[in-house]
Symmetry: C2
């Protein structure tokens, strides 16, 4: 099995992230007048960089089926809007009360709480406008399917449900399986959407979609295990948000120990890559992404 | 021109509201476990009654074109989810800081702020799932069109934009035209969506859609003028939320005086009804709705 080299991957992810930023800049133009601040806050969040992992997964999963990059970029921008909305709302004082994000003040600190709530609402809303509108695909059934998949991944049975569990009193006494389930919702569902967007755009066979969903499930959990490791071993400068936030909380590191968590992350990467077997060498970049996710320091 | 009698209208709206509540109850089933509270909060808001004006407008606009009630009810439930989400977020301490809604504690008082933010997010998200999924219509292009229209009506260029203007410093010095524009976004856009949902579901001619959009624009403004009148003349018991909230704020009543505002509301109703001429007597219920909107005491 050929492996894409890590510096190649980073160059590729950077090119893709730049394209996503340009697309988001185009989709969310600044406006003047009293509506200005909410749009400015949307842009502050959406154009602030970040790894753009989810859009990259959309582009790569779409690339497996020869879907044009322009379509994948549009879907990737929609999922990034949902990701940004979730970060804005999660950082609010009533939620995780986090003052920094991606190395800058959180939206409610750079603007105010009301604008942060509205900017999150508007980003979530616009994601569905982007998916539903014409340029995604000429086939309306594909557009409607993407809307439904993204809504399922994001709503009370998906990401919002995961966040609900994360702030619930039950969180304190959870074991490995329950936290894995929590993370499968909170982080995993958007990653799953990103990986199945390709086969949906291509009207691919059910088996191919399932293979990518299985890859996504392992990748999402590996991502979260790595996040918990970074909270212990990373610096705020590297990670771009406060570290040591998990003190006193049950995490994969407290459950498995630091070495146990690293081993678990490696196993998940192996398992994720194994699900890509049907796609052969054309999925090498997705394999490299899985390794990158656990080896990153931010 | 035949006029539906007012008590007939109220009976018809009550039947429709009950059907909407049953549909929402079916679409948002309670769940057990740690995700329970967010779903409970969604149900608390969505099943709490209210006039269900927007779903009624969807049903009536759909009825003009012979669209089956089951389809219209589904679209009406989606727009009601968006309406409920907007009320939950508007009531938050960082926004309008309102402790009661529909005669009961607001969601952030009955639950807490974090759950209120998440419940609003989840209702907004589910609205798009409902519109995008199969039962709305077998024609995927209709479903995608509804998703895009609802997103435009709800986002930064629609309802959220109106709320942004409403909390902006510029709000204090606005005149009639600017406040009318604010309300056209904040309240008017969802009412417009509700009125054009019928022609969209029916693939109706552009002229028919425009006539209903023009009706909706007058109706939406009439609704808001009536709301400002009620804030001065109504009681909290009647209105279901605190009155006198607008003290010191520029409203249609402060701009036009109480009698001037009543006259304006009546003119808007006349104008709204005039736009329905192409539909003849089949639009009598929509005419009655316009009168109801300015004559209601809640």
């Amino acid at each position: 099995m050929a492996h894409a080299r890590s510096d190649d991957l980073i160059a590729q992810m950077t090119r893709s992230a730049d394209a996503v930023t340009r697309e988001l800049d185009r989709l969310i133009p600044a406006v003047t007048g009293p509506r200005g601040p909410v749009v400015e806050a949307m842009r502050y969040s959406a154009l602030s960089g970040g790894k753009r992992l989810r859009p990259f997964l959309v582009l790569e999963s779409a690339g497996l089926f020869g879907v044009p990059d322009a379509q994948a970029l549009r879907v990737g921008s929609a999922v990034e809007m949902v990701h940004c909305y979730s970060l804005i709302h999660d950082d609010l004082p009533a939620m995780d009360d986090s003052d920094t994000r991606r190395g800058r003040p959180a939206v409610h600190k750079a603007f105010d709480e009301a604008i942060a709530i509205l900017a999150g609402d508007a980003l979530l809303t616009q994601a569905f406008e982007v998916l539903g509108s014409f340029e995604t695909s000429r086939d309306a059934s594909v557009r409607a399917a993407l809307v439904v998949e993204l809504a399922k991944a994001s709503g009370a049975a998906g990401m919002v449900g995961g966040q609900m569990i994360d702030i619930s009193p039950a969180r304190e006494s959870m074991g490995f399986d329950e936290i894995a389930e929590l993370e499968a919702l909170k982080t995993g569902e958007l990653i799953r959407f990103s990986c199945v967007a390709g086969p949906i755009l291509a009207n691919a066979a059910e088996g191919e979609r399932q293979a990518l969903a299985a890859y996504a499930a392992d990748l999402g959990l590996a991502f979260q295990v790595a996040d918990d490791i970074l909270d212990v071993t990373g610096t705020e400068e590297e990670v771009g948000k406060p570290v040591g936030q998990d003190d006193g909380l049950t995490t994969f590191v407290t459950l498995l120990g630091l070495e146990g968590a690293r081993k678990k992350a490696d196993e998940l990467v192996e398992s994720a890559c194994a699900h890509l077997a049907p796609f052969g060498a054309s999925a090498d970049t997705l394999r490299a992404v899985a390794r990158f996710v656990v080896e990153r320091n931010q």
